[in-house]
Each structure stands twice: as C-alpha cells, then as structure tokens.
Symmetry: C2
Subunit: 349 residues, 2 copies
C-alpha cells in the first residue's frame, strides 16, 4: 500500500511506524483510524499526533483525496434480481470481468440497483469509492450513464448504447447473429418463420429483430407483424410469447428466439401444443448458454462470447482509468451459429 | 446530500452554489471535483477557489473524513461463483438484506472474493468505502472477520461462527431442524436413515449432522459411519454422496439431506438405481427453497426463513453503525418441517 502525505508527496510512513511512534499496537492504530469507539481519548490523541508527525494518511478515503484511486471497479447490473440469478448470461459476464480485474489486483464491487434506486447508486459511484464503472445490460432510459459522464468517472457500457454517449462500449454483432440464425432456418426449407424478440429498449432486443427482418427480406419472405412477439429475455416471457404466436399463426414452422431462456420457454409451449421439434417447428436460440445443451431437443443457438465481453469491458475500463482521456473504443465481437437438433432439416414424408 | 466544511461544521454550500460562484456549469464543477482531465487549468482554479470560499466538501471521500459515513454496507459472499448463482439460498438472503437497506436509503455493495482474494476485500472494507460489513456463508477458516474486527468496522455474520468473534450473528436452529426431519422419518417407520451432511467447516454443516445423530439416539437407533456422507451443499455433491451411501448400504430406507440442492441430486441417483421415492426410500431436504416443489416427487424440507435472516442481519448491522459500541446480539430463528410427497409413510404391502 502506498502512503501519502496530505500535500500529495509520497511518504514512507506505515501503520507500523505510526504504532511505534504512538507507543500502541497496530490494531489500536487501525481502531483509531476507523473511528472505533473502543479507544480512550488519550490513546486517540497519541495516535493522531503520530499520524500528524509522520504524515501518514490513515485511510483509503483520505488517500483517495490525494491519489484519486480506490483500486476498485464498480459493476452495475440494473436488472430485476430474478433475472440476475436465473439468466446464465450474468454469471458468465461477471466471470470475465472478475478474471481481468483479479489479474490487475483490483476489487470488483457489484451494485444491483432496484427500479428507482439509480440515484443512490450514482452517488456511490461518483463519490470516490470506485475508479471507474462497468454498466452491464444497459437499457435506453437508464439515467446512470449520464450521471457518471457528468462526474467525469471512466465508464464502459454493454450493450451498445442507443443514445449518444461519450464512453467505450462492448457488444456482439447482434444483427449479424440473428441474420445467420434465420438464414439457416430458411435454408432448411422453413417458410413461416416467427421471432420472439427481446426488449425493445436496448440494442440486443432491437438489433436481433432487425437481423431477423433483414434475413427474411434477403430470402424474399415477407415480414409480418403477427409473426413477431416481444418478450423480456426470460423463460416465462418466452412461453407467453410462443402462446401468442401460435394463436395468431398456427402454421408457424420455425421460430428464432432472441435468447436461449426464451427459446426454452417456447419449447415447453410447443411440446404442450403437440408440435414436434424439429419435425413440425424448428427453433433457434441466442447466447449458446448451458441451457442450450440441456433442453430436449438440444438447441441450435447463436453463440456470443460472453466471458470475453466481460474481460474486454474490464480491459477497456482499466486502460481508461490509467491513461487520461483515451478516445472511446467500440468493440464488436463476432457471433457463431452452433447447430444442434432443434433446427435439423425438415423430414420429407 | 449533506455538505460539510473541512473543520466538521455542516455547511449549506451546494454544487449549484459552487457553480454559480465559479461562473461555470454544475457539470463542470462535477468534472473538476472528480479529477477529470477534460477541464482547463483556469476553470479548475476558479472552481477550487469557489470551493475554498464556500467551504464545500466536494466529494463523498472528503465528506467521509468528517462524518466517517459512506451510507453504504458491504455484503461479502465468499463462495465459488458457481454456488452463488445456482443455490437459491443466496438470492433469497440478498433479497432480505436489500429490502432493509433500501428502506434505510443505504447502498448495498456486493463483494465476491475468490479463494486467495480475501486480503484485497479486507482492504476495501476497512478503507472507509462502507460503514459496516455483512459476512454471509462464513466458513471457519475465513480470515476476513479477524481483519474487520481488528479495524473496528461494525460487522454481522451468518451462520454462527464456530470460533470466538465479538460480532453479532444470525442463524437458524440448524440442529433442531435436522432433528425434526429425522424424527419425522423414524416416525414413519424408517429404520435405516442415512444423511448427506453439509461442509464440516461451518455451523450449518456441523449442527445439522449433530441434529441427525441426536434424533437417531433419541429413537434408540445407532449412528453408523457408513450412513453418513459429507458433501458441499450442491446438487452434484449430493448425487455423488448418494451413490457412495447406496454402495455402502443398499438397505437404506430414508435420507436426510442437509440442503434441498443435495436432496435433488440424491433423488436423481435414487431414480437411476431403480428405487421408488417414497415407497423404497424416503427423503427430506433442508431450506424449503423453490427447488423443493419442482422435484419429482415434491420434497419434504426443513423451512428456514432465509429472507428474514437477511433482513435481521441488515437490521443488526445498521443498529451497530448508528449506536456506538452496542453489545453483540445472537439471533437464532426457528425452522419448520414442511411435509410433501417425498417422505410419505411407507406403503404396507
């Protein structure tokens, strides 16, 4: 740990030296420094005198006034906690972030603001407790990026923000991935291809829907409103959307779901309706998460390198913290279609 | 937000007033205060002069030197991230903690140190970034409580620490809950009752095993080493333990598993071995988590009030932060046996 004097010079005084000059134990110095009430006034004064004499800045809050570093990075996931703990996307992205921060000996601090609590989270992030912020699963209406930008705190976001934002971001080729999924379904002879789209207030929801429509256009198939249902990336949402689609269009022979969780929900509804997958209806998900190999049948899915996204976000942020005023970077990672049983070619009777 | 002058008096100067005196925008003041490089030296000097004139303490790091409060609480879960995201215990306890902290307008800051990273987490917790710490799922050999105690930071832990620790804790009646589960199995006519115990380096693992043994003793049944297998609270661990138990004792007619996750793993192994539940083998879990109602058959389980544990931990900690030197409290919450199909009485042929 670096110690610093109040005027900004780096000093060599350590907690041990303060303890020696004050004639107390290291633990007692810690207690005084952290404001513990279990210390007598005499001892407190002796420690404070030693601190003043040695120029030791007693805690990280004080040190951060000088170095402006907390050696910590805030990660904000503003999703309902249900989704945080049920969608395997989040552990994966956290694993990537955590791997990079650990390699740099930086502390990961996770903040999960509920709806309406963004203001308090912004206070924390802009108060010197972290050196920078990673905003994961950013929605369009989130006021947090604006607050952080205003305060001049380095920040990296994901997915691609849909409003102008002077910050680096990391995302995958959402439109391209969706396009490859739908082109694959059409190539296997499917002609009534529906989609379960993600939330339309964030890039992955919007861009995957765009990719679906473009692939239909490229195949000279019409985009039809009753072949599109929007859900919230969850399994329950996917099931409800699938029910709605089947009611409007019982002739559907393929579905592109914008997440594996939604595809899993759709699979259960297809089974309950007596449709065979892939014989009657083919389905493709997005994520290639663990769920894709545990569904029955196993799920064809658009693989996105989630751990790598997390690592890349952390790498960009640490670079921004260390160099002053780096130009924002936009990193788009490629996707890959992983073929499994759920979209195998239609059997000819 | 309260503002304070450097000598500790509460001042009325706001960011807006600083902006007005300096003749710049609120955003520019934020940038200067947070050390952004995107500000000219002239503007920086003007803002610093205004700050000096008004006695405005520009950020929370500075303010915390005066108030020694960050209005934030650190929650530490030192489990492999796999378990954090697969065991429903953690979202539930976090929900309880979060509900109470939100009601007090305090920021929850989640720290998930990997093995070997406890030292960095201790640095963060003792550096003024949080007002207190909640340690969830504490294992015996964790050095964190010692570091936090030494620094005089208020702390509440769960489960019951098995070493002397001058801190409040919240736990459930683990031994009593296990006893009720085993007494129920014996009462239904089971005579060869095995247990899948939890980790033996933390109170829930040890105390639930103790409760199992005491219930057998009370029923005048012998405790036998080959009826006991220790696992790690996970589904995979429960499956491996069940395989071991069946190999050693094919005559087992009941199992008490110290977590629902382990019980779910055991159920799959029992099914694979051709044993019917509950006809051939009855099983009881612990937690009464969502998994208990989704297994086949539904799982009898010892309910522990997990959300309430989280709330109680947060309540005790905030009280300790607000009052100086409160006596540590030990809160033990009761458990309740919830009966479902997995332990129904043995059918008489």
């Amino acid at each position: 740990m670096t110690t610093s004097t109040r005027d900004g010079r780096n000093g060599a005084a350590t907690l041990e030296q303060v303890a020696k000059v004050a004639g107390v134990s290291r633990a007692t110095v810690s207690r005084v420094v952290n404001g513990s009430p279990k210390v007598s006034d005499d001892i407190r004064r002796a420690v404070e005198a030693a601190v003043a004499e040695l120029g030791y800045v007693p805690n990280r809050a004080a040190r951060s006034l000088v170095t402006r570093r907390s050696d910590s990075i805030g990660v904000v996931i503003a999703e309902p906690s249900g989704r945080l703990f049920t969608d395997p996307f989040f552990p994966r992205v956290l694993r990537g972030i955590s791997a990079y921060l650990s390699s740099r000996d930086l502390q990961l601090v996770l903040l999960m603001p509920a709806a309406g609590e963004t203001h308090r989270t912004a206070d924390y992030l802009t108060a010197g407790h972290v050196d920078g912020a990673l905003l994961v699963s950013l929605h369009d209406d989130d006021p947090l990026p604006g607050r952080i930008a205003e305060a001049g705190i380095p920040m990296v976001v994901s997915p691609r923000p849909r409003r102008p934002l002077a910050a680096s971001y990391v995302d995958v080729d959402n439109a391209g991935g969706a396009h490859s999924a739908v082109a694959h379904l059409v190539g296997n002879g499917r002609r009534v291809v529906a989609t379960i789209a993600g939330p339309q207030d964030m890039a992955p929801g919007v861009d995957r829907l765009t990719g679906y429509r473009e692939a239909l256009r490229d195949a000279r198939l019409p985009s039809e409103p009753d072949l599109e249902a929007v859900a919230d990336f969850t399994q329950e949402g996917g099931a409800v959307a699938m029910e709605r689609l089947l009611k409007a269009r019982p002739d559907i022979d393929a579905v592109f779901a914008a997440s594996d969780q939604m595809a899993a929900g759709a699979l259960s509804v297809l089974a309950a309706s007596g449709r065979r997958v892939p014989e009657d209806v083919a389905i493709v998900g997005f994520d290639d998460s663990a769920v894709a190999t545990t569904t029955s049948p196993a799920l064809t899915s658009v693989r996105q390198p989630v751990e790598e996204m997390g690592e890349e976000m952390a790498r960009l942020l640490v670079a921004a913290v260390e160099r002053s005023d780096p130009a924002p970077r936009r990193v788009i990672l490629a996707t890959q279609l992983i073929r499994r049983a759920s979209s195998a070619g239609r059997r000819v009777p």
